[in-house]
Amino acid sequence: MDMIPSPETTLPVIFAALMGFSILVYVVLDGFDLGVGLLMPFATDDEKDTMIASIGPFWDANETWLVLAVGLLLVAFPSAHGAILTALYLPVFAMLIGLILRGVAFEFRGKTDTARGKRQWNAAFVAGSLLASLSQGYMLGVYIMGLQSTQITTGFALLTAVCLTGAYAFIGATWLLMKTEGDLQRKAVLWAKRGLPGVVVGLGAISLATPLVNARIFDKWFSLPEFAFLLPLPLMSAGLVGVLWLSLRHLPDSADRWSWIPFLASSVLFTLGFVGMAYSFYPYVVPDQLTIYEAASAPESLFIILVGACIVIPIIIAYTTLAYTIFRGKATGLSYD
């Protein structure tokens, strides 16, 4: 690679970064609302309404980050989009069915007039959340395994499917304990406490498996001086797990001042895990087959998209913040009035 940055080398990196950012935001934001869906079977009917209300104003926009992430993959790295999604044909399909099911259940449950109808849509919401979470975890596993399909990779993907689902339920619980009060908040703390060991096991399993199955990734992590620079990642993760454990032991406190800490800590934990993965796979977008440079669209097309992205993404972030500010505080009954 030459020393002077050229559009051919910088644009793919910028787009990979944008795409990574979108995936990360998606995983955290839709992670918590999928997680809320996963936890619904453990709540009473009234609590279910509050849980739904806590994610009501956000879920549309949260899922839009997935469209942006896949959209960026599609427009910036078209051949990778084809290669990855053709390899993941069935899990992608399962995820889409799940997302459709929960999205429509969300709308229909509020507009049905019978208790039975509501129960059925609640069940559809839970099933959709579960299907979407499991299939995303499965895809993560297959991707880590280099999009190969053997018995071992399938087994590993099943493991990641369970782990990611657990992680979503965990971040969903931390969201709820921030957005609710009373009995539901106490339940949310309990759910989060029970989920924490699962999150640690999941993170650990993925962190260990990734370098072990791939010699290239092993070398990227376990050689000097890289290892020294990378050491803060696992150390910070361990620190965050400690913060989570401590804060969950003391929540809910009477003044309810610190209930945002677990959600923030788990968001940062997700971010660290994601940064670690991004480092492992760079510069490949299709593991060990296609780099971001090989898969990128023509520079002139990328440049046109970049102009739009530079204008729009700051605005998106600004009004996403606005929406979260308007609907801050404890979840109250949502109404169209």
Binding site: L85, F93, S301, G308, T320
Partner: protein, 470 residues
């Protein structure tokens, strides 16, 4: 042969997904503006009837929007799972257009939707009005970028092929390609008509079951007059679009007209069963020379025929005739029914005592036509999209070149599941809309998101110390 099965199954799957998806944007594009109209009328008059109309229809908007979002997610994956060749060949052009669609429009809608739906009491009136405007504007921009891409696939320009991959040379030419203005106008009017008949149909249903509230009179009038105003505009826009297609894709018009030979005095075929074996029409009933008059404005005007689009080795380069021929007729017939019903109802309302003068003889057909906009829109899209076959991008790549090498049974399995789910959701959607109307007519308040039991009314008071009553 296997790849041929995959091709046809993938095409059916894409058609099923996009057909299901388009139903909901068709409603939200225009309904957003109608809601803004209700909101502005309320701001100007302070009349609660407008707000009642807003509150009822914003629920329909939310439901339609939710279905649009989830069915739209499917679309962005379909390119990769079933049509990787498309982006590999023309990704440099399709990519930025899709990116702009996602960036400028989708987020604008999705982020402000929360404020529009649930923010009425949480934000100042001007912000709520602005959010409503931005959502309407966002849905319209969304359709603009999508129709730019679709129009470019019909009338591509502004690019060059380098090593079999399209590279953009002139973005202005790509965006404002020759069929864009016609297609965009035609689609936006279609959305307006769909919403007009939805408003009129649901209001007619509420009248039929005894709802005499003033809000329903308003939405009834809005729907019927909007329909009566838009339908002549749509007929004119559709005609212009047809002439534009004749110039750029004559084989599509030949299929629409069921015209096999290039000749003058082409009849307007009212009924026929096109026969691709004999390359002629069976049981043809037509009006002499009328197609020539419509398309060329003179009786002996020469109209291109399908036989001009067969290569010397016998390869057929025109679309399959029967589906294009028939979907075109379904669209036209629906349009004529819309014209007659909306004008007749308007006449009755103006001459015979407004909404109260409408009897069952008008209300029942209005209810029957509630979703007629969907029928016309789908029939129109099938005409233009099947009419582009065998091309995916006219003259640049065929559909066959783009299809993924996925085993046919996979596609068949996923297709079946999609169809089953879409069928159920469609029934649920229609039942929910009429259910909402029934409850509104009975005067029941639809507490959309019931608040947690026992809680004090804390809407708008973010008091973290509020103690549950129980």
């Amino acid at each position: 042969m296997e790849s041929l099965d995959t091709l046809i199954l993938s095409r059916i799957q894409f058609a099923a997904n996009i057909s299901f998806h388009i139903l909901f944007p068709t409603i939200t594009i225009a309904l957003g503006w109608v809601l803004l109209f209700f909101r502005l009328r309320f701001n100007a008059t302070g009349d609660d009837r407008w707000m009642a109309a807003y509150r009822f229809w914003v629920k329909v908007f939310a439901l339609s929007f939710g279905l649009g979002v989830v069915s739209g997610i499917t679309m962005s994956f379909q390119f990769g799972t079933n049509w990787p060749g498309f982006m590999e060949k023309v990704g440099n052009i399709a990519g930025p257009l899709l990116a702009y669609e996602i960036l400028t429009a989708f987020f604008l809608e999705a982020a402000f939707l929360g404020i529009m739906l649930f923010g009425f009491r949480r934000v100042p009136g001007w912000l709520h009005t602005t959010a409503t405007f931005l959502v309407a504007f966002g849905t319209t921009m969304s359709s603009f970028w999508i129709i730019v891409l679709n129009s470019w696939m019909h009338t591509p320009q502004g690019f060059e092929m380098i090593d079999g991959v399209a590279h953009a040379t002139d973005w202005w030419a790509i965006i404002f390609n020759p069929s864009l203005p016609y297609r965009l106008t035609h689609m936006l009017l279609a959305s307006g008509l769909t919403v007009a008949f939805l408003l009129a149909g649901v209001s007619a249903y509420r009248r039929l079951i005894g709802d005499r509230t003033p809000g329903v009179r308003l939405t009834m009038k809005t729907g019927v007059y909007l329909a009566a105003l838009l339908i002549p505009m749509q007929i004119f826009a559709g005609d212009m679009h047809g002439l534009n297609t004749l110039e750029h894709q004559p084989q599509k018009v030949a299929a629409m007209e069921g015209n096999w030979e290039t000749r003058g005095n082409v009849p307007l075929v009212l009924f026929a069963i096109p026969n691709e074996e004999t390359r002629s029409n069976d049981y043809e009933i037509g009006i002499p020379s009328l197609a020539s008059i419509i398309l060329k404005h003179k009786a002996d005007g020469v109209v291109p025929g399908l036989n001009d689009f067969v290569a010397e080795d016998g390869t057929v380069l025109h679309p399959p005739v029967t589906p294009v021929f028939w979907s075109f007729r379904v669209m036209i017939a629906t349009g004529i029914a819309m014209l007659m019903l909306s004008w007749f109802t308007s006449y009755r309302m103006i001459r015979h005592g407004g909404v109260d003068g409408l009897g069952k003889i008008i209300l029942i057909p209005l209810v029957a036509m509630t979703f007629s906009g969907w029928l016309a829109t789908l029939a129109g899209w099938y005409t233009t999209e099947i009419g582009r076959q065998p091309w995916l991008v006219q003259g640049v790549m065929t559909t066959y070149e783009a299809v993924a090498d996925v085993p046919a049974p996979y596609v068949a399995g996923t297709l079946t599941a999609y169809l089953a789910m879409y069928g159920i959701l469609l029934v649920a959607y229609i039942m929910t809309i009429f259910g909402l109307a029934t409850r509104a007519a009975r005067g029941e308040k639809v507490a959309d998101m019931p608040r947690a039991g026992g809680r004090a009314d804390v809407v708008g008071s973010p008091n973290p110390h509020a103690v549950p009553a129980e």
